[in-house]
């Protein structure tokens, strides 16, 4: 118990946190203002076939919106490119000002003040997947310190994080006992789960003996009878 007790406590604390906190809240879904914006096809002056002619390597072409502007997004080899659908002018990579406006536009609290803006091109933080790089990180001065990550090439929100997600992430790492990659198939977890299993079986045996007074009494009575019998025999 001494060895696995701490981990059992860690499991129950981290497990409780994870089940009590709503997963959609943890994902930051409630931070996003859903605004349904419709494409005005009169704004599309630069046609798709024109785009394909100008950029022959273009793949996964999409027509969508960037704030109120209609834009094309596509992969050009290994790079994401964004063009204006009005004239075909390249917009990507976006600058700091535009990144801030996009983040503010998506955040439910439109009065929140931006505290820090950072362009991340390499060494992403723990909370951002490397495949989203390059990305702008926009930190808001608000409850639970939300951070929005806006792709510098697509201008789209790629990740949103806040304090409770960051806590959840550590909780999960401690739950699976892998503090770096957070994979559940590590040897440390195996050893501790196995020990915890043995300890729990011992605990169950203890529970059985402690909380079964009648049976104990019956045993005691039996013992008494046996003792009496032995005493009688001796006599």
């Amino acid at each position: 118990m001494l060895f696995v007790g701490v981990q059992l406590l860690v499991w129950s604390i981290t497990g409780s946190y994870m089940v009590v906190m709503d997963i959609h809240y943890i994902h930051g879904d409630s931070l996003i203002a859903t605004k349904k914006k419709i494409i005005d096809f009169d704004d599309v002056k630069y046609s798709l076939s024109q785009l394909m002619e100008d950029h022959s390597a273009a793949a996964d072409v999409e027509l969508g919106l960037l704030l109120n502007q209609t834009v094309y997004r596509f992969n050009n080899g290994d790079q994401n490119v964004m063009l204006s659908a009005y004239g075909g002018r390249q917009i990507s990579p976006i600058d700091e000002k535009l990144a801030i406006s996009i983040a503010q536009n998506m955040y439910t609290n439109n009065k929140a003040v931006v505290t820090r803006v950072q362009l991340i091109t390499d060494n992403p933080p723990r909370e951002l997947s490397g495949r989203h790089l390059p990305a702008w990180r926009i930190d808001f001065d608000d409850f639970a310190s939300p951070s929005f990550y806006i792709s510098a090439n697509s201008g789209q929100l790629v990740t949103k994080r806040h304090s409770y997600w960051r806590i959840f992430d550590w909780m999960f790492a401690f739950h699976v006992m892998d503090y770096i990659d957070e994979e559940a198939d590590n040897k440390l977890l195996l050893v501790f789960t196995f020990l915890a299993f043995i300890a729990s079986i011992c605990g169950l045996v203890l529970t059985y003996f402690r909380l079964m007074p009648q049976k104990n009494k019956r045993n005691r009575n039996l013992d008494d009878k046996l003792n009496k019998g032995i005493a009688n025999e001796k006599a």
Binding site: G5, S16, I39, M52, E62, L63, T193, A196, T207
Partner: protein, 256 residues
């Protein structure tokens, strides 16, 4: 002074702690064993098999003849629903415009799409025949299609999915099922008996029991697990205090 006061105070509490620990053990022991057992399973299982993708293959894309692409404004004349996004995609090696009418935050959230042939302009409906072909294009196993069924959420194999889908079943030894989104034709995913077996363990670990509360929801935020998690938390805390007490009393000496 302080040192003398603590043992007396904690002694009163300790008896309650011990009693609580003993009774709680009776309540939580079954689920605790389930948690440890399934936890052990997750640790030891084959993580590749657990994904259910043994018979999945990458879809092959064809070259698009961009000169034949129809202009978008021509297509929009025939569309009555509002459009928020247009994507040039491929289904079965042919280009289509995927029109987004409604899109959730994630692909498994409620969405509404329509497909238009990018060369001809006709609307493309994902019926059972198309769904079957789409499923076969993502399948590399040796089985044949045995059934195509339209399924509404909750889908047992894909509990998180909130969109209507086609379930295409294959007659192979893993009973592979392929799920295709009924409005966009997107491949939602593969499932098979290996994945279903792992799903059973997740259901047990998350207490996502089909016969309790709202049934299986594919998550771990249900009432029963919150209740048992908190009980177990108290159980572990009381046990921990007990161990500390035993440690203070010197009951953990080596050789004793």
């Amino acid at each position: 002074m302080k040192k003398r006061n603590i043992p007396k105070l904690s002694f009163i509490k300790l008896s309650t702690v011990k009693k609580l620990h003993k009774w709680l053990s009776l309540f939580v022991f079954i689920q605790l064993f389930i948690w440890l057992g399934t936890g052990l399973f997750f640790n030891l299982m084959d993580h590749d098999k657990a994904r259910g993708n043994q018979n999945k293959k990458a879809i092959v894309f064809q070259e698009v003849e961009h000169k034949r692409l129809l202009n978008l404004d021509l297509i929009m004349n025939n569309i009555s629903k509002p459009v928020t996004e247009v994507a040039l995609i491929q289904r079965l090696g042919k280009p289509y415009y995927l029109l987004t009418h409604e899109k959730g935050l994630y692909s498994h959230f409620k969405s509404d799409y329509s497909l238009v042939d990018a060369y001809v302009g006709d609307e493309f409906i994902i019926d059972d025949g198309v769904a079957s072909k789409l499923a076969q294009a993502s399948y590399k196993g040796k089985g044949e299609v045995s059934a195509v069924v339209k399924v509404k959420p909750p889908i047992k194999d894909m509990l998180k999915e909130r969109n209507i889908a086609w379930q295409v079943n294959f007659s192979d030894n893993l009973n592979t099922s392929v799920y295709i989104d009924a409005s966009s034709g997107r491949l939602i995913g593969h499932s098979n008996d290996d994945k279903r077996f792992v799903d059973l363990f997740f259901m047990l670990h998350f207490m996502d029991y089909p016969f309790l509360g709202k049934g299986s929801l594919g998550g771990f935020n249900n009432g029963q697990i919150i209740f048992f998690a908190l009980l177990t938390l108290v159980f572990c805390l009381t046990g921990f205090i007990w161990v500390i007490e035993l440690l203070r009393k010197g009951r953990y000496r080596l050789g004793s």
